[in-house]
Amino acid sequence: MMADPQPQKEIASRIDLAYLRRWHRLRVARFVATVLLLGIAAFWVIGASALRNKKIYANGPVSQGHSFIEERCGSCHTQGFRKVYDASCLQCHAAAVGLPHVPAGKGRDPACGACHAEHRGNTLLSALGDKHCNSCHEDHSDITSLETHIWFRPQPRDQRLRFNHLQHGDIDLVGGPLECDACHVVDGRNFGPIRFEEHCVRCHRETVSADIDIVVPHGFQIGELRDWIAAVYVREWLAKHPGEVEPQATVPGRGGAGPPDWAVQLAEHTRAAQAALFQPRRGCLLCHAAKGEEILPPEIPSRWLPRARFDHQTHRFQSCDRCHDLREATSADILVLPKVETCRACHNRQGARARCVTCHPFHPN
């Protein structure tokens, strides 16, 4: 057979010119699948809206503490297309937030959500990483964690009190060495204040004199105590020598005959008692500092590291000397605060928490 010289028309008849306008099966299937999937998606969204299920839009579950309001978006999201205002948080957390973190005149506290990011799963909102702190405290950029925390820096302060920790724990101490909790009693997170009447008087019981077994009251100034001692002596003398004290007769124009013997004796006893109480390193001045006739009130801070928080209650299972080394504490000026290395022994990546806020709470309350 010979090739036909004009086969083009017949060959062209093989081509269906309308095929572009017709939807072939794959295209139809694609369209149907698209409509079907879009329908399912729309049904899901509309159905959730009809059922008032807004959880599908959330970026994740709310935190543990907010799980009870997970269904009530409006509790926090008070206005559409607006961020969650702090006022929403403060409705419940005003007491916990308390004082502002940023000092007055240095700006404003960041918004609650800047640190406490919600919808991150079933987590604790308060468990924050150190990044939050370091994002603002750039001056502490060299201290990014406890590992790089180089020192604890208590504010130096004259406590106006003489106290020898080492001596009080000495085995030769009269009555035996004192345990720490003899004076340091945990009250809440920290220790309660040490009071003379509760913690010191048992050993440091100052009486007026050997003869007069009356305890000298605590908390008075020197002048007040002199008067008190004089009054005590007069009262005691009168009680012991009734009738000896008589008014001295005076002759007009000739003057007195001088103090009677009993008065002179009383004055001498009084002065001796006062001198014994106020002599250096004895009596009141054994512990207290004085300036002239004034006993300076002690100034012992309730917290030596005011910018940090330490919970003695949670550390009660540790012995005191694990952190506080008393071996050189011969003076009240020598603080027996633990060093940062001591903390690191337990607070590290493998052990207890060691975040900034573990010791430095953001919210002062």
Binding site: S13, H24, R30, T34, L36, K54, N59, C115
Partner: protein, 299 residues
């Protein structure tokens, strides 16, 4: 679309963009106290960029339905679809901070993963199958034309068998023109005058070929197997007069063309079947992305 040198500028742009975005994300993630989030300024920027690229990729479908619009070459749109669509994938993950989020966001992310994977699969097929088809299916026709051509071929086969047609078409000689190679379709005129006995040929067509040319009978027919086909045609050749051997050869060529059409259909299903997943998921993703954007900004 094959990835060739024509993609180099797109590759450079996408790689550069990805590097810049990755560095920006690393710095942002490192400095973000609470970790990267979609709601932060950087997170939103990544989300917007990813969505824009995603929308551009989706517009390819619209562009294809409007081939006459002068809005850039179709090839450019397809390259943009490939590269910007791929670029949107990491950007969306940067936006989400590599978290899958809540129910809607999670569904969106999984859909996006599927869209991306099906796209990659399709792209890989595009690198292999078209070349394979060119080499092995010289009589390739447009996919949409297969059924039409099959019917036309059957008509021609019947004409060939009975010898009534003015001419019949067949696969002709190999031809090349420059770098283009292939086989031409030829039209052959039936011999004039009293012809040989065509009854065996007609019986053969009625018994095997017509069934073979039906749409779904390819595998059931003995002609579907190449060895069986040759055996049957050898048998037919011995049954007909020598003058009809040429027609038998043409008939065999028709059957082989039919086999090629079926092979082409199968390969085409591979080549475009992934779009059955890719396209519906893409539009669903666009829809849910819009819902996600509005509701995320609302809350």
């Amino acid at each position: 679309m094959r990835i060739d040198r024509g993609h180099f500028r797109w590759f450079l742009f996408s790689t550069g963009f990805l590097i810049v975005a990755s560095v920006a994300y690393a710095l942002y993630a490192r400095g973000a106290a609470g970790g990267p989030t979609g709601g932060s300024a950087m997170g939103l920027a990544f989300g917007i960029a990813g969505t824009v690229f995603m929308l551009f990729a989706a517009l390819l479908g619209v562009r294809r339905r409007r081939p006459n619009y002068r809005v850039g070459r179709a090839a450019t749109w397809l390259k943009g679809h490939l590269w910007l669509g791929a670029l949107s994938f990491p950007l969306v993950f940067f936006h989400a901070g590599f978290e899958f989020g809540g129910p809607l966001a999670r569904v969106l992310m999984w859909i996006f993963v599927l869209v991306f994977l099906t796209g990659l699969f399709g792209l890989a097929l595009q690198q292999i199958l078209p070349r394979f088809m060119t080499q092995n299916l010289p009589q390739e026709v447009a996919y949409e034309q297969i059924d039409h051509v099959r019917r036309e071929l059957l008509e021609e086969v019947e004409q060939l068998a009975t010898g009534t047609g003015p001419r019949c078409l067949g696969v002709g000689r190999a031809k090349s023109d420059g770098s283009i190679q292939g086989r031409v379709v030829e039209s052959r005129t039936a011999p004039a005058g009293r012809g040989p006995d065509r009854a065996p040929l007609v019986r053969f067509v009625d018994k095997y070929v017509k069934f073979y040319f039906q749409r779904r009978a390819m595998r059931e027919s003995p002609l579907g197997d190449p060895n069986g086909r040759r055996a049957l045609f050898d048998e037919l050749k011995s049954d007909v007069e020598e003058r009809l051997h040429g027609d038998v050869a043409d008939l065999l060529a028709y059957c082989e063309q039919r086999a090629q059409l079926d092979a082409q259909r199968r390969l085409h299903h591979w080549l475009h079947g992934w779009l059955l997943i890719h396209v519906p998921l893409s539009w669903t993703m666009i829809f849910l992305t819009a819902v996600h954007a509005v509701m995320s900004l609302y809350y």
